[in-house]
Amino acid sequence: MTRRRILGLVNEIDAPALEDGARGADADLILASSVDRLFKRLSESEWELCVVSLSAEHVDDALLERLAGSSAAGALILTARGASLNAALLADRLGALALLREPLEAGGVADAFEALADEGPSVELSPLEEGQDGRTALIGESGEMAEVFGTIAKVARSTSTVLITGESGTGKEVVARTLHTQSDRSEGPFVAVNCAAIPEQLLESELFGHEKGAFTGAIAKRTGRFQRADGGTLFLDEIGDMSAVLQAKLLRVLEERAVERVGGREAEEIDVRVVAATNQSLSEAILDGRFREDLYYRLAVVELALPPLRERGDDVRRLALHFAALFAERHGREIRAITTKALSRIAEARWPGNIRELRNVMDRAVLLTSTDTIRTGALRIGAAAPRAASAAEVARPVGYPATASLAEVEAAHIAKVLASVGGHIGNAADTLGIHRNTLSRKIQEYGLDTPDHGRAP
């Protein structure tokens, strides 16, 4: 077995502990004397692990992001002076394996290295089925999904409208596409529209089309999405965001099976099956007067609720293996397996962004893997949000909603630290820099479970 290669950039005072730790873990360690030297080493060869001190000269967020995005850097361990919420959040955002406190101790370093080494056996990726891609493959064997598959099988060949509900990222569009491909309309078009993303006036013209000269600048007749979906399926995503005016127009189209272009005088008959989706509670929206009840009943002839990923048991692993195979093929990487430890980490994560988040994490993991096996160091769970933060989000701790109170942030951080130390209150108190009694009081106050008793938020 080849010796592991570790690249370090730490303060002089911490170098001996790092060297001892590397020796203890039977690894080769190279210490870079500066940020420039670190990147020079990275450009020359690949490393299994990088250990970087947040207090080293010229180390900042931009540099760390660059490091985290480098496939040559392998896994990342950060070291920091004292306990700091920002450092913990940064480590979390970058997907670092560990955040060690300075001054470093050889024992702690060796433990962290050992944890890296012990990834368990690997699980091989299954080959992709022909035609499977990230947008169409509906994967799952859990009981929850069996129910979904059953409903799809029952309703696919009917012409009923279907309302798909579920949290963001649970795969509503994939289900809509599956309904289409399994239906008698599969030869016809599948047209998707995101109602939340399109401004109201645009949405009307986009859905129904417009006549030439219908308004200033309408220089040509335009075909709407309804007409484009004729003979096929129209998927109206995030329907809960549609305005009241458009809801009324949509209801009319569904009742009359005909659309009238903006500025048009004659209705055109259409043969479209509508599948709608929402991540909102439409029953609440109806009570609030934000959604028409009659439209709801028209759309929800069949209602199909998608479970969040965290409730899908072993499907998380299946999906992870599927996405790994998919992206390995797409990016031309010779990846054949995922370590058991990496799969366990995937299975334990909360996945607030559901399958969309898992897909992004696996896409990145493939790119960050330079060997044939995906290891935990390549997983950037919690760092793959598709939208960039704004200034205000940058200024506040990353990873928590802008509306979170200080208490919520504190509770979440304590839970995270507890999880990272296996629920050991003494170690957690040490990391947080508070007395263990204070920590116990806070755990009680916030109603937190230690990892032994349940999942951290």
């Binding site: 990147f39 931009a62 660059r66 995005g69 480098s70 947008r135 949290e167 963001s168 990222g169 569009e173 047209v191 529209v193 995101n194 939340a196 993303a197 399109i198 401004p199 109201e200 006036q201 645009l202 013209s205 986009e206 417009h210 308004f215 200033t216 600048g217 309408a218 040509a220 335009r222 995503d237 995030e238 965001d241 549609m242 305005s243 005016v245 991540n279 609030d288 934000r290 797409r330 990016h331 607030p352 962004g353 559901n354 988040e357 896409d363 790119l367 793959a384 949000a385 598709p386 939208r387 960039a388 933060a389 704004s390 200034a391 205000a392 989000e393 940058v394 909603p401 802008a402 509306t403």
Partner: protein, 474 residues
């Protein structure tokens, strides 16, 4: 009258009405999201930047406040993982009216301070003139121009530089007149007034040569070359850069204008497809930078190497250089431009997720740095990425880019590039009729700008981020 920043939501009265068709595809203008998001939610919770714009009158005096709210806005956490988040733009961000009272007071004070400084400089210019000191008066007016330029007020900056030029000219000081013309040219270029800018640079060159000011003359040449490049007149641009280098000769000691000209020459040669020929000036620039020990050059050099390797389709090396360029960027403009080049590299490799993430980082930087003029580039790229994935709703991003171009009075080239990207995307998504219309419109604009073929104008796929070439005189 200034137009709105990120999401202009109203009709705009201005020249070139023909060009003002932001919602090209639909021929209608955006209305507010107010009805959809605020009224439909019972006036609660979601209040976006677009809602804000619809709620306030479009007045110059409110611009700092609106810019502040845009910069402190947040992405909607509830949409983080929804499909619509991919299509979200600055206008969809949520307003966070935290500490607004304190902030509005501070912003009002900043406006007052800015005006005070401008008034002070005007007063200084008048006092200098009464004492017969045209040079001091000119200097004061140039400082006022710089202050306005810092605020993104190119027309105002050009007006002050113009006043400074007239004073210098009347005083018969050729060196100063050349300098003021170069400043006026720069601000006119920022306004998209390319022909006026080019004439200014040409006149500035004549004056600098007459005054035996080789650095000033070289700066004028580089400026004229930059204008030519923005019009895709590569050959002329090359001539200008070579002329700048010949004017400086083997200047001793070496001066930064030399590497500025060399780097510009490298970029234009690369744009012309001369991958071999462009290497020499790049290496020379690098050697000069080393001699000068000028660390400000690092991001520009890294960007140049990144683009060079991208042109060679050596994407790995390109990515390494561009990431270094991003990390070394000292200002928002450089960072945004280099980041977008990085995103282009990732997009070219099919790494859509990473490309979109880098583009979103560039968007964030543009927002927090109050640089909305960079957003159309971001949205064009995001639109192309989504179109490449077959997402029909990608048009939302192109429409938003057009809106910003109009609302911010950005140069016509920005509009033309957006129409081109939009047209190509629509065609690839199957709406060839709309695609053709958009491309024809882009061609008409290119023609008006003196660009013969639209392919030549698509320089922001491989942007040549370079230093603004100017001597340190003000």
């Amino acid at each position: 009258m200034h137009a709105a920043a990120f999401g202009g939501v109203r009709l705009r009265i201005g020249s070139d009405r023909e060009e003002r068709k932001p919602l090209y595809r639909h021929g209608i203008r955006h209305t507010s999201f107010l009805a959809r998001h605020v009224l439909s939610n019972g006036g609660m919770n979601r209040f976006t930047i677009d809602d804000l714009r619809a709620a306030l009158p479009e007045l110059d005096e409110l611009r700092p406040l609106v810019d502040y709210l845009v910069a402190t806005s947040v992405a909607d956490p509830e949409r983080t993982w929804s499909g619509s988040s991919e299509l979200g733009t600055a206008g969809d961000r949520l307003v966070e009216p935290l500490d607004l009272e304190e902030a509005s007071e501070r912003l009002a004070l900043e406006v007052f301070e800015h005006r005070s400084r401008i008034y002070g400089l005007a007063a200084r210019a008048i006092a200098a003139l009464t004492e017969g000191d045209a040079e001091a008066a000119t200097e004061a007016l140039l400082q006022a121009a710089s202050l306005e330029a810092e605020k993104g007020e190119a027309p105002r900056a050009a007006a002050y530089a113009d006043a400074a030029y007239r004073l210098a000219r009347d005083a018969g000081d050729a060196t100063l007149a050349s300098l003021t013309l170069r400043r006026r040219a720069r601000h006119r270029r920022a306004e998209g007034r390319y022909e006026d800018a080019r004439r200014d640079y040409e006149e500035a060159l004549v004056l600098a040569e007459a005054a035996e000011d080789p650095r000033g003359a070289a700066e004028a040449c580089v400026g004229a070359g930059n204008v030519c490049e923005e019009q895709a007149r590569w050959g002329e641009a090359e001539d200008w850069y070579r002329r700048a280098l010949s004017l400086l000769g083997s200047h001793e000691p070496p001066v930064p204008e030399q590497w500025h000209a060399l780097l510009n020459l490298h970029v234009v040669l690369r744009s012309m497809g001369s991958l071999e020929g462009c290497l020499e000036p790049l290496r020379e620039a690098e050697a000069l930078v080393e001699t000068l020990d000028d660390s400000s050059a690092v991001p520009f050099l890294e960007n140049a190497w990144g683009q060079y390797h991208m042109a060679l389709r050596d994407f790995d090396t390109a990515e390494q250089h561009l990431r270094r360029g991003v990390a070394e960027s000292a200002d928002a403009r450089s960072e945004i431009t280099i980041r977008l080049n990085l995103a282009e590299t990732l997009f070219a490799r099919g790494r859509h997720l990473d490309a979109a993430e880098e583009a979103r980082r560039a968007e964030r930087r543009a927002i927090v740095s109050s640089m909305p003029q960079k957003l159309p580039e971001v949205y064009r790229l995001l639109g192309r990425i989504l179109a490449d994935e077959g997402i029909l709703d990608a048009f939302v991003l192109f429409e938003r880019a057009l809106q910003i171009v109009d609302a911010r009075d950005l140069p016509a080239i920005e509009r033309a590039r957006t129409l081109q990207a939009y047209g190509e995307a629509e065609s690839s998504l199957g709406d060839t009729a709309t695609g053709r219309e958009l491309l024809s419109e882009a061609d008409r604009l290119y023609e008006r700008l003196g660009i013969e073929h639209r392919r030549d104008a698509w320089s922001d796929r491989y942007q040549g981020e370079r230093p603004i070439s100017e001597s340190n005189q003000t």
